[in-house]
Amino acid sequence: MNATWSRFNITSIVLGFAFLYLPIVLLIVFSFNESKLVTVWGGFSTKWYVSLFHNQGLMDAAWVTARVGVISATVATVLGTLAALTLTRYTRFRGRVLFSGMVFAPLVMPEVITGLSLLLLFVAVGLDRGFFTVTLAHITLTMCFVAVVVQSRLISFDRSLEEAAMDLGATPVKTFFQITLPVIMPAIVSGWMLAFTLSLDDLVIASFTSGPGATTLPMKIYSQVRLGVTPEINAACTILIAVVAIGVIIASLANKRREVQRQLDERAAQRG
C-alpha cells in the first residue's frame, strides 16, 4: 500500500469530507450566531439555545417525536422479530416467498406512496388522525427494517444451541426465552435503535398521517423553515446531531471494547 500523502490524495479527502460535512458544520456554526440573520455572522452567542427551550411549540413537537419513536420502535421490534423468526424457521410453508416479499416491500416503497396509502386507509376506516395514526404508520415503516436486521442474525444462529437446550429438558417456550432471545438480543437492540432513528427523522409519512396536536419535530422544523430559517432551528438541529453522534460513538466504543476484551480472553484461554 502506498501511504504517502500525495497532493491528489489530500485533495480528494478534503473534497469528499467537505461534500459530506460542510452543510452540517455550517448549520452548527450558525446555531451559535448572535445575529438573527442566518447567513450573516454577528458574533458568538448561545442565546438561541436558551430561546429554544422556551419555544413551547418545538418542545411539544420534540416530546411527541420521542414518544412516537419509543412506542413505534418497540412495537415494530416485536413484530419484526416475529416476522424474522417465521421467515428463517418455517421455510416450507405455503406462500413463504410472497410473504417475505411483502414484509420487505416497504424497504423500497417510495415513502410518499406508503404515506398516501396509510392516509387513505385511516380515512376509510374513520380513524381520527393524530398521535395514534403516526405511531401506527411508523410501525409499518420500521418493522421491515427490524425484520432484516434480526433475520440476518438468525441465519447465522446455531440451531444446535436450541436442540441442546431441549435435550437438557427445556420446553420449546423456555428454550426461546432462555437461549434464543438472549443470543439474538444484540440484533434486536440494533433493530430497535434503527427503528427509533427512522421514526425520529421521518417527515414524509408523518406529514400524511399526523393530525392536530401530534406534530413531530421534523414536521415542526419543516413548517417553521418555510416561514424562514431561524437560528433557533439551527440550535434544535445541532442538539439532534449531538444526540445521534453521542449515541453512535458510545455504541461503537462499547462494541470495540467488547471485541478487544474478547480477543484478550481468547488469547488467555489459548495459553491455558
Partner: protein, 379 residues
C-alpha cells in the same frame, strides 16, 4: 476392587442370549423427501455398552443419533429404550442427553450455568445443583474455570464443558456426535481414554457417532459400520478388523490387500484359491464359499512378510518387485508389484534399529503369508 480393564474384559452381553437389549432400533426407516437416510435398520445396544456408529458422511449415523435424541422421528419402524417406545416423546422428556459436535455451549452463560442448565430445568433444589455442578467440574478438571464464558476457553476446555453438561443430569444414555472431531490429534488420543474412563466410572450407556475408525476401535465395545443407511456389520473391534463381513467393511476399516479370484478346490482343511491374475493362494478357512464361487481374498498388510529370498517354510509366497517404500518410524510400509501385476501392501514393524534384510526400490522381493492370515469374502 476390580480394575476397569477387567470389568471391560468380562463385559459381553451381546453373546448372552438372555441379555435384555437396552436400546432397540426395530426396522427403522427415515426419509427426508426422496432421500432415504436410514433404510429398514435394526440394531440392538446393551446397557453400559460403549457403542460406536461408524461410517462415512451421509451414511445415516447422525440421523440415528438424532432419532434417539428425539430431534427426528422415524418414518417407519420404532425405537425402544429400556422397553419403552420412544415415538412421540419430545426431546425434553427423553432420558437421554447428547453432546453436540459443535459443543453447542450457551455463549451467554458461564461454564457453571451451562452445566447447571439441565438440572435447573428439572427443578432440582439449588444446593443440590451447586453440589452436582462442583462434582462435574471436578470430573472434567475445570474447577478454576467455573466463572468463565465459553469464548474464554480453549477448544479442549470447551469439549470438557460440553461433556460435563451432557452427563450432569445422569442420563440413561449419553449420545456423542463426533465428540473429538474438533480436537487436534494429541489431545484427541488423550481424550479417548478419558472418555472410556468416564463411561466406566459413571456406568452409563454411550452411543458415539464417528467417522474416525481409530477412534471407534479404541473406545467402543462394539462398532456398527454403516453405509447408505444400512448396517454392514456389528461386531467388536477385533472382529471388525480380523473378520470383516464384506469387502466394504474390510476396505473401510484399516488397510487391506484384496485378491479377486475363484475357489479352485476345497478340502477338509484347506481351500485353494485361483487368483484372477494367476496367483495361487491356499487358505485354511474359506467360510461358506463353495467351489467355483467368485470370491475376494482379503489380507491385512501387517500379516504379510516381505523378504529378499523365498522363505523355505511359507505356504503362500508370491514374487515381485519393490515399487515404493514408506518409512514411518515405528514401521515401514512396502508396496510390492507382483509379477502378475497386482500391487501388494506389506508393513513391517521396525523392531530392531537396523534390519538384516534391507530392501530398496526396484529390488526383487517375496511376499509371504500363512494360510490363516487372511479372510475369504463372498460379499
Amino acid at each position: 476392587m476390580k480394575s476397569l480393564g477387567s470389568i471391560r474384559r468380562d463385559f459381553a452381553p451381546w453373546n448372552d442370549p438372555n441379555a435384555k437389549p437396552y436400546i432397540q432400533f426395530d426396522n427403522v426407516t427415515k426419509k427426508f423427501g426422496d432421500f432415504t437416510a436410514v433404510n429398514n435398520l435394526s440394531l440392538t445396544i446393551f446397557e453400559r455398552e460403549f457403542f460406536a456408529l461408524l461410517g462415512a458422511s451421509g451414511c445415516g449415523k447422525s440421523t440415528l443419533l438424532r432419532m434417539l435424541a428425539g430431534f427426528e422421528e422415524p418414518t417407519a419402524g420404532r425405537i425402544l429404550l429400556d422397553g419403552q417406545d420412544l415415538r412421540g416423546i419430545p426431546p425434553y422428556r427423553r432420558p437421554v442427553n447428547m453432546m453436540f459436535q459443535s459443543y453447542a455451549l450457551f455463549p451467554h452463560m458461564t461454564v457453571e450455568n451451562n452445566i447447571a442448565f439441565g438440572l435447573k430445568q428439572d427443578g432440582m433444589p439449588k444446593p443440590e445443583i451447586a453440589a452436582r455442578v462442583a462434582e462435574m467440574l471436578k470430573l472434567v478438571k475445570l474447577e478454576q474455570f467455573a466463572k468463565r464464558k465459553p469464548h474464554q476457553l480453549s477448544g479442549g476446555q470447551r469439549q470438557r464443558v460440553a461433556l460435563a453438561r451432557s452427563v450432569a443430569k445422569r442420563p440413561k444414555v449419553l449420545l456423542l456426535d463426533e465428540p473429538l472431531g474438533a480436537l487436534d490429534k494429541k489431545l484427541r488420543e488423550e481424550t479417548q481414554f478419558e472418555l472410556m474412563d468416564l463411561q466406566q466410572k459413571l456406568g452409563l450407556t454411550f452411543v458415539v457417532v464417528t467417522h474416525d475408525q481409530e477412534e471407534a476401535m479404541t473406545m467402543a465395545d462394539r462398532i456398527a459400520i454403516l453405509d447408505k443407511g444400512e448396517v454392514m456389520q456389528v461386531a467388536t473391534p477385533p472382529e471388525v478388523y480380523e473378520a470383516p463381513a464384506s469387502r466394504f467393511v474390510a476396505h473401510f476399516v484399516g488397510n487391506v490387500n484384496m485378491f479377486e479370484g475363484k475357489v479352485a478346490e476345497r478340502t477338509a482343511q484347506t481351500t485353494r484359491i485361483a487368483g484372477a491374475t494367476g496367483a495361487q493362494i491356499v487358505v485354511e478357512n474359506a467360510g461358506d464359499a463353495a467351489a467355483g464361487a467368485d470370491i475376494v481374498f482379503a489380507i491385512r498388510p501387517e500379516k504379510i512378510r516381505i523378504s529378499s529370498r523365498k522363505p523355505a517354510d511359507a505356504v503362500n509366497a508370491l514374487e515381485g518387485e519393490v515399487y515404493d517404500i514408506a518409512y514411518l518410524g515405528d514401521m515401514t510400509v512396502y508396496h510390492v508389484r507382483l509379477d502378475d501385476g497386482q500391487m501388494v501392501r506389506a508393513s513391517t514393524m521396525n523392531a530392531a534399529r537396523v534390519t538384516d534384510d534391507p530392501l530398496s526400490w526396484n529390488d526383487r522381493a517375496w511376499v509371504s503369508f500363512r494360510s490363516d492370515a487372511g479372510v475369504v469374502l463372498t460379499r
